[in-house]
């Protein structure tokens, strides 16, 4: 496990960017680069991370960074990897630098799913990091395939009839693993050493790897900027966002939760769920708790844990 004194003082994701205070996505980027070091190439999907870190002529990125479009961070990375390989064959650098692709949940679960799937199937050597703030934040908080059931967004309002988003979150790790890749993991900005250890590990894998990192968004989730890490931790402590990894066929639960809190404690901290506490939608909280329980049981089972 990475410990604080192992971390380089050098920043590869510089301050001065335009991310909101308390932004989880920018924390996820900064931590990943501290773990990777500077011998790395980054591709970035359109979204908050891209927009707020590189408003010309400024850039926060002290590593080579390429943004082309929204749905293709993985495809762009494929081309970069291919170029390094081919140029090596005719006298270029012999080492292909590790490639990290960053994309939001919209750029991953939805519009970028095909490009990600193609890249995973082809087996490029790349680490794909989905920073999950559970909605399209850059365009103003619209629902994505990752937005949880019951969350209000600007395209899944909490109305008089509908309790926010009716559908449930996709299983990104399950989808990724089913491509036959060697390494995939969830992570959270609240568990920095677990996350950074995973970045290091993923970069050592031959072929593609995926990290799905929970990155709260104070604007979209409607909480105080100072509470980002606290809420991210609650997501895990309420079993809403389990932290586990898959490595060459074996699952491991990285953050055990001996005394889980009810999911209500997580929901209550955020404005996007406030309507669930009104009498007309009160049954929704139980539905979410049921989903959480079932998901947790499934993951415990995968990880070979009986109970935590």
């Amino acid at each position: 496990m990475v410990i604080l004194k192992d971390l380089p003082a050098e920043e590869l994701f510089l301050p001065g960017h335009r991310h909101c205070s308390g932004c989880g996505a920018s924390m996820a980027a900064r931590m990943a680069l501290k773990a990777s070091g500077k011998e790395v190439v980054v591709t970035n999907a359109t979204g908050c991370l891209e927009v707020a870190s590189t408003i010309y002529p400024y850039s926060s990125w002290m590593v080579p960074w390429v943004h082309t479009a929204f749905e293709n961070a993985a495809a762009t990375a494929s081309g970069i990897e291919a170029a390094f390989k081919a140029m090596a064959r005719r006298g270029g650098r012999s080492r292909v630098p590790p490639i990290i692709s960053f994309a939001g949940d919209g750029g991953t679960f939805d519009i970028g799913m095909q490009s990600l799937s193609g890249a995973l199937e082809r087996g490029h050597h790349m680490l794909y990091i989905c920073y999950d703030n559970e909605a399209y934040m850059n365009t103003g908080i619209q629902r994505s395939g990752s937005t949880p059931h019951g969350a209000a967004t600007t395209t899944s309002h909490a109305g008089t009839k509908l309790p926010g988003k009716p559908e449930w979150k996709k299983d990104l790790i399950g989808i990724s693993i089913s491509h036959g890749i060697e390494y995939a993991a969830t992570a959270s900005v609240a568990y920095w050493n677990d996350y950074m250890t995973k970045v290091k590990k993923a970069l050592e894998v031959k072929g593609p790897s995926v990290i799905h990192v929970l990155a709260p968004c104070p604007r979209g989730w409607r909480h105080e900027p100072a509470d980002t890490v606290k809420i991210a931790r609650l997501a895990t402590q309420t079993l809403y966002f389990p932290i586990y990894e898959f490595e060459r066929g074996a699952y491991r639960l990285n953050v055990k939760v001996p005394n889980p809190l009810p999911v209500e404690d997580f929901l209550r901290t955020q404005g996007r769920f406030s309507h669930l506490f009104k009498p007309e939608f009160s049954s929704e909280i139980q539905k979410i708790q049921d989903w959480v329980n079932a998901n947790w049981a499934r993951i415990l089972n995968l990880c070979g844990e009986t109970k935590t």
């Binding site: 591709t43 960074w65 082309t68 479009a69 293709n72 005719r90 006298g91 630098p97 095909q114 199937e121």
Partner: protein, 391 residues
Amino acid sequence: MQKIVGLTGDEAVAYAAKQSSVDVVAAYPITPQTVIVEQFAQYVANGEVHTEFVCVESEHSALSACIGASLTGARVFTATASQGLALMHEMLYIASSLRCPIVMAVANRALSAPINIYADHSDMMGSRDSGWIQVYAEDAQEAYDWTLQAFDIAEKDNVMLPVSVNLDGFTISHSMEGISVLEDDAARKFLPPRPISYIVDPDRPITIGAGNNPEYYFEFKRQQEDALRRSSKAVLETARKFGAISGRKYGVLDTYGLEDADVAMVGLGSCMGTVIEAARRLRKKGAKVGAIKLWLYRPFPERELLRTLEGLKSLVVLDRSCSFGAPNGALCSDILSTLYSTNLKLKISNVIYGLGGRDMTVPMIEAIYRRALRQKKQPLKRDVRFVGVRE
């Protein structure tokens, strides 16, 4: 020394790509382009090229991967057509705006619906403003020659723009011709590998594709437009260099019979061979007709075109696509606006032909010439006709 080999247009393009020291090919199958990537994959399988072949899951990803590779510093080739080009549309602009010297063969094909796999120019015309240099081949020989030349044009320091080499689906892509190909050594001398130089480079990190607000975006676009306009000079330079080793003369356009012509026809692609044949037959009977074949469509070769128009009384513009709801076909609109600022007075008529692979025959073209020869003055209303269609 050159040898003559029997190749279809698609095979000729693949052969040229093989001789171009291409580092990365990322492509997706679509008729009538597929043979190009299949053939190239065969070269890869046999170890005849050093190329990294990325067999992507869509055209959008094909061009995205090409952009990533080109930005890194690789020489990059791809090919597509029709729906595939349409799916790439978003990335076409990004390739040119990020100044990626990618070469892409487009085996021109109609756009759906109804789905149709045969030739017309709707695909590339729908992307004509995407900032790519666009050349059109008349036959498989030209498709081979332009593919080799395209890399040389694209990668020039003062160009750095993508090039599309257009060849009509089936008419060129699937028709076997005897083609003069360069020896590998000669091709390599004409087009050495792209110098090894990394743009995406951990030792010199830069940010590519940063967000842009109103303060800077406009300047980027202005520079891009300047670069595209300047590139017509590069096309001529490359053509001279290529002529010296191949003996085949290229430029931005070619003419036939213009010395004394009253009426000329101008167009793009494979139909121009038929046009020249029709003109030849009519000239034998004493009709003063000629033809202008545009090799280069973007940047539009205004100056060279105007020079060819002097002395003409009438010009028929052939468009193989329909700009729905526009006053004219795309090429005709370009020519009309080029002419507007001059004092050349000639009658202009526009013919839309050949959509979805409909044949344009010598007798049809002769009839168009005859009509133009008969016409005394420009009608007041626009003169756009669909030829070869049941109306």
